[in-house]
Symmetry: C3
Subunit: 134 residues, 3 copies
């Protein structure tokens, strides 16, 4: 039956890692899929998706800090919009993640959550979610 | 019905980010798949796949520059071929990307394209593409 | 028919890149799937999955060295467990990889293997593998 769901999120800062696990779980439940795969895909080139710790919010702060050090803003980048560091951070974490679906729910480890990673906000962002029975 | 398509590309430089979106789109169209998933997979350990900006070519230049700074060539790497930085950059962007297929086409954001990332060229590279109806 | 397999591995060091290709291949064979996709997913936030060179073990040593330089330990990270660098390296290589299955086996390039990347070991780690006929 094909189809996918588009979720929308408002990010709150230039760099913002936002927990979207419950939103994705709801899409899985509403899909009626029992066993399969779920693809969570950012429709943007300066915002990605990652899976990481859902407990201590300091991890998100440190991840932003660490990505900013690995891929810093630079005055000698050529791209006129001045956000090449945002593109780099997005390709580093990746534009999407794929998760197993079992018994109608995401299969995640105890400490894992799904996160939208904003690297050039704040902005309205769209995330496409496809749940497949397999 | 199983099966996948192997695309071949000639990269032009040591570091080269090559837009392969139209090649992948053609595989999707030729597959006859209407709704599903498309996996784009590099068969190499020093060339990856990413999804990033398709408009300003300066973004590609800056991405190569930024990845080269985050994972520089180093004389103290042990691997005798001297391309450990190429392996690192490949694992950073990833060997593959997965994209939703809807109405017989890739579901990409306005500015998103699919790119083969050469990190140890120039070379002939193979990219496997699998399109699944789901 | 749904379902997935959980593999367990003991890592041997704080940073350890472990070749799990043969374990994943066995899951694919046992699944009876001829053509489709295989998702290999780490259930952890400080251990990821990558695909890289299976030949020279020095590549693994250099990858650990390069990731440690790009995302070093830092005393000014906030997360009290002191392993924010482990979370960063995990999001960089990614928590999972997807590989094409054809004729009942993984489709990998000559030099490609599937690796569990331990970034906060040694520990017992779980990897979920789902093989889908498609």
């Amino acid at each position: 039956m094909g189809g996918y769901t588009t979720l929308e999120f408002e990010t709150r800062d230039s760099q913002h890692i936002l927990d979207i696990t419950s939103d994705v779980r709801k899409v899985v439940r509403d899909s009626g899929v029992s066993d399969g795969l779920c693809l969570i895909f950012s429709m943007h080139t300066t915002a990605g998706i990652t899976i990481n710790e859902n407990a201590d919010p300091d991890v998100k702060t440190d991840m932003i800090s660490g990505l900013s050090r690995a891929f810093p803003e630079r005055s000698d980048y050529r791209h006129m919009e001045g956000n090449s560091h945002s593109h780099l951070r997005t390709s580093c974490v990746g534009p999407s993640q794929t998760v197993i679906v079992s018994d109608g729910d995401l299969v995640l480890g105890t400490w894992q959550g799904v996160f939208l990673c904003e690297f050039d906000g704040p902005r309205r962002r769209r995330v496409a979610v496809k749940v497949c029975e397999m």
